[in-house]
């Protein structure tokens, strides 16, 4: 397959363009029950009782589940176990679910859900993260002792001295807002109790099957092996289908287990908006010192992130913001304090960029302000401060071992959009112009994969068949982004075979080791790394089996154009023939490989370390006009 053909190749495109792809709500199961969540009208309240009797009397209602029905543990979380599968002691935000109604039809479940009564004592709510940090603040989680979820710091150089040496000091406060992911497909789950062994099979719209499995197993009080998450096409996630989606699976699985019937819960858009976590709003106080020559001498910043009612992944999101708090610029003196804070607002968590966009917005604003102060263009200011090959980041990491492409990326964007020329056309607030025209540019860098925030490894399995067809699977999850297709292309290239020979196995948490979450570029770099390593493992096995026949050493065997070749192209065996012969030799052309992220380091007290094993560089320009 030539490069242009591979560019858009997808293993699922045909099914999706013909409407054949079965998303969660498209799946049909005999004897299925339907579930609907129950919310309360409170924002912060102590629960006195939950009256489900009226709902239970509705014809067609099978059961109403509350916290007391949870057989395992009602509390879970990836970092702090503060999430309630069902609200038990308190309502902490307006999206807390107190009960789930299970009925013969979805309509009945929705109708009956309105009849559940929550008796609760309202409490004062804390809705502002700065207020939440005050010593006398209302506590969202009393046991936690305060509303502080986490802190991160960066300490580098001496900012006090550096500010004294600066010719200009720019100070500005910024705030960013909640953002909903608005994936086209709402959260959905179908849970099916397997009659043979009681394993709960889950088909659902979630982007972290392994995390979902942990949520479900904990809630049900069963072993990980008793829960199987089966890959199902997913209508978008953008970071938003982790915790909330997992909890929805847990509630649905509990209903299926207790009732011994398949249960489906498909979220209405308003439930999805109400309950699902959002992007963290940030308050940032930013102070930057610059010299007349346009060099940044120091940055001091204080970041407060509204974590909402539960921790979710707030510590990881805010860690990324902290590490990247000066953007792609070299700054030798940095003092950054970051706080993740509980409030009674909607929960916040992972979303596209994972803590990058908020801080990137701040930096690119302040950079323009600083450039204006110095009297040079924003582009020139960026050039004087940007990271280059071998630069040291604010956490002390030397940028090497990869191409530091910041300047190249910037130059390319400026050239492609013809920036300098178009800048002259800008209205710059001249309201009397016939056409209001504006153009802007912003740049950033980003640490790839999890970095020092998590354990980072991924598995892949390649199982070549006796006819030369190939089964591939990795621990990464198809979120709609095309990760399965990317893995197939990588596998095809490594093995020198046509991609159409490869089938990506329907993923299952019971097939492959827990390889963590599929987020952002992690899918490609970790899954792709695992696929490539596994393919090489397999090639080694094959080469050892055929090198003698091919008149070369195992190391000299080549894989190309669906053939296995020796040193000379004439010495070759068709891939399919080789696979059949391996079967005859009683050798499995099978390999399991693991890709481990290169080492990262982090000292949480100084905020110094090699935070990410590699970085990507980005520049974007945008023009806009209106008459």
């Amino acid at each position: 397959m030539s490069l242009p053909e591979t560019k858009c190749w997808r293993n699922d495109a045909y099914a999706k363009v013909t409407g054949k792809a079965k998303f969660t709500d498209d799946l049909k199961f005999a004897n299925v029950l339907h579930a609907a969540p129950v919310y309360s009208d409170f924002v912060h309240a102590r629960i006195v009782s939950i009256d489900t009797s009226a709902a239970e009397k509705v014809s067609g209602v099978v059961r109403v589940l509350t916290a007391k029905d949870v057989q395992g543990v009602n509390r879970f979380g990836q970092i702090i176990r503060d999430y309630r599968i069902f609200a038990d002691d308190k309502i902490r935000y307006h999206g807390d679910v107190v009960a789930v109604v299970v009925a013969e039809t979805r309509e009945i479940a929705i109708h009956a859900a309105q009849l559940v009564r929550v008796n609760a004592t309202p409490l004062p709510a804390v809705l502002d993260p700065e207020e939440a940090l005050k010593p006398d603040a209302v506590l969202v989680h009393e046991n936690h002792g305060s509303n502080l979820i986490n802190t991160h710091v960066v300490r580098r150089g001496n900012v006090d001295n550096a500010f004294k040496q600066a010719d200009f000091v720019i100070e500005q406060d910024f705030s960013t807002q909640f953002i909903e992911h608005a994936y086209m497909e709402t959260e959905a789950a179908v849970c099916v109790p397997r009659l043979t062994d009681g394993v709960i099979e889950i088909y659902g719209s979630m982007q972290h099957p392994f995390s979902t499995r942990r949520f479900v197993a904990t809630c049900l009080g069963v072993a990980l092996a008793d829960v199987e998450i089966i890959g199902t096409p997913m209508g978008g996630g953008f970071g938003g289908k982790d915790d909330t989606a997992a909890i929805i699976c847990a509630r649905t699985a509990l209903a299926a287990k207790l009732l011994g019937r398949p249960v489906k819960m498909v979220y209405r858009r308003d439930w999805s908006m109400r309950e699902s976590y959002k992007r963290h709003p940030y308050r940032v106080q930013y102070k930057m010192g610059v010299t007349k020559a346009g060099c940044i001498t120091a940055v001091q910043c204080r970041i407060v992130a509204d974590g909402g009612a539960y921790c979710s992944v707030t510590p990881w999101v805010t860690w990324r913001s902290t590490v990247q708090c000066c953007g792609p610029y070299v700054v030798e003196n940095v003092h950054c304090d970051t706080f993740g804070v509980y409030t009674n607002n909607v929960v916040t968590g992972a979303m596209r960029g994972f803590g990058s966009p908020q801080i990137n917005f701040v930096i690119e604003q302040i950079v323009e302000m600083a450039a204006q102060k110095v009297g040079i263009s924003g582009i020139e200011f960026r050039r004087r401060n940007m990271v280059r090959q071998g630069s040291i980041t604010i956490t002390g990491q030397k940028l090497d071992g990869h191409k530091v492409a910041m300047e190249q990326v910037l130059d390319t964007v400026l050239r492609e959009i013809d920036y300098e020329k178009k800048l002259e056309k800008c209205a710059h607030g001249k309201g009397d112009a016939d056409e209001l025209y504006g153009i802007g540019v912003a740049m950033s860098y980003r640490g790839v994969s999890l970095g020092a925030e998590g354990t980072d490894f991924c598995a892949a399995i390649i199982n070549a068949q006796a006819d030369g067809s190939i089964l591939l699977e990795t621990g990464m999850h198809e979120n709609g982004q095309g990760v399965e297709s990317a893995m197939c292309l990588i596998c095809a290239e490594e093995l020198g075979v046509d991609v159409n020979r490869i089938r990506y196995r329907r993923s299952s948490t019971s097939n492959i080791p827990d390889s963590g979450t599929t987020v952002a570029s992690r899918g490609t770099i970790m899954g792709g790394g695992a696929t490539a390593l596994t393919a090489r493992e397999l090639k080694k096995k094959i080469a050892e089996s055929f090198c003698e026949k091919l008149h070369c050493t195992a190391g000299e065997v080549r894989f190309k154009d669906n053939f296995i070749c020796g040193k000379l192209d004439a010495d070759r065996i068709a891939f399919a023939d080789a696979m059949r012969q391996m079967w005859a030799m009683q050798k499995f052309p099978f390999a399991l490989g693991t890709f481990k992220a290169p080492r990262t380091t982090w000292d949480e007290h100084s905020g110094q370390g090699d935070a990410y094993f590699t970085w990507v560089y980005c520049c974007a320009a945008r023009q806009s006009s209106s008459r």
Partner: protein, 185 residues
Amino acid sequence: MKLFVNNKEIEVPASAMEKRIVEFLREDLDLTGAKNACDIGACGACTILVNDEPSRICIKLVKDFGGQRILTIEGMAAPDGTLHPLQQAFLDCGAIQCGYCTPGMVLTGHAFLLKNSHPTRDQIRQAIFKNLCRCTGYQQIIDAIEKAAPHYQREERGLQAASAPEKQTATKNSKATTLAKGEAG
């Protein structure tokens, strides 16, 4: 009451008349290509074509469609599975990511090209304006509709040649609509 769905005549049971048509198609006919993503006719994921016009069916009832000619995404490809050129263009242009908006996008694009087979990119943008996609950023979808336009031009020329060679003076767009309707019916 009868419906004509993907060139098949469907007898609608009385019990289904008050159902939302999106549920009737998805549950009773197992045509799950139309998605119910917003419930309020806002996102376009449930779009089907009714007499070649896009219709948002998450807010409409079965009884309102008596005798109408319905095309769902399942009816776009040839019976042997060969993709319609517009569907193929979606594949070729990388216009598919999660795929959830895709059926609605393809059908909206199809209805548009039947009316206007020489569109500008701006007209395409206007045509799919109300169909939401959260993955692609729309560019690849616009590319795909643009790429498929020549097919509709050929269809149009073919039909003109076959059925009405003497009426060359009619405006191109209105003619395309009339002829294409005749063809699809």
